[in-house]
Symmetry: C2
Subunit: 168 residues, 2 copies
């Protein structure tokens, strides 16, 4: 969800500017971990625990159309490692209902880690989720994964759909 269908990077950068008055640019954080993206190392974590953060995330460009296209040929599940942030659970559900109303409740999973999720493919931005996945991992481009190249990388939703459709 975060970093794949929800644009957490843009939200983090906007919130940092609003809260700290410092504009951080995407090219400045390439290759950094999420807890090192800002001068104040605690900021990102603080934002993730702030009510409203997850409810107001921008949709990742192309995500809505891509998921709709994939649903023609795949059973699509939305899996979010959300349990660390309890206040995010109802926010994430409302966000999905607003932005992805065609995803039914049966296909939504909120978990702690993703190690027990068993699907054929997983599109994720985090190495920690992809490394232990038993199906085919697909790494969605994110600032924090640009220096990791041991999974198949897709740079955007157009590439993700194209890759998956070669596996039909």
């Amino acid at each position: 969800m975060d970093g794949v269908i929800a644009d957490t990077e843009t939200q983090f950068i906007n919130w940092y500017e609003l809260d700290y008055g410092v504009k951080v640019y995407p090219h400045e954080i390439l290759g950094r971990e999420e807890n090192e993206m800002f001068p104040d190392k605690e900021a990102a974590r603080k934002f993730a625990f702030t009510p409203g953060f997850f409810r107001t995330l921008p949709v990742m460009p192309g995500a809505v159309e891509a998921v709709q296209t994939l649903m023609e040929n795949f059973d699509v599940y939305i899996v979010s490692a959300a349990m660390e942030f309890p206040q995010s659970l109802p926010e994430k559900l409302e966000w999905l209902q607003e932005n992805f109303p065609f995803i039914g409740w049966r296909n939504i999973i909120f978990c702690g880690d993703k190690s027990v999720i068993n699907t054929d493919f997983m599109i994720d931005d985090h190495i920690k989720n992809l490394d232990y996945f038993k199906g085919k991992p697909i790494m969605f481009h994110a600032f924090h994964n640009v220096n990791h190249n041991h999974h198949h990388r897709v740079n955007n939703w157009k590439e993700a759909v194209a890759f998956l459709e070669t596996h039909l």
Copy 2:
């Protein structure tokens, strides 16, 4: 979670008596589906959407001790098909933090259906979850499953622990 570590049957029966003034006894509902357990067929579903229902569920007898025992030899995940009832998500998380504080957030999963959950064992009261499970299903006794016998049945947590410990 419901019907396994949380005693939903007792809660349903108590709430029905309080709301409708009619006492239903456990032996009267043996073999009935959940939507047929009460004279008013809508009651159980109405309760499940009522704030407070999931937050105040009694703990299933023996569940706390059993989960603690199992955690000595197993990675225990709490998986709840909770997504149909959005108001239950924060309630279920608070309930777990109160009653099972030794279960960390990494090991909690709230989902729609359980078809993508990949563990070695699943203890569940619902045939719909057990029938499609790829590991070893363990059917926890419940009023609505007494006429189903195609999964290994455990009648209580003592039997569940004993069965799992033969698989170490």
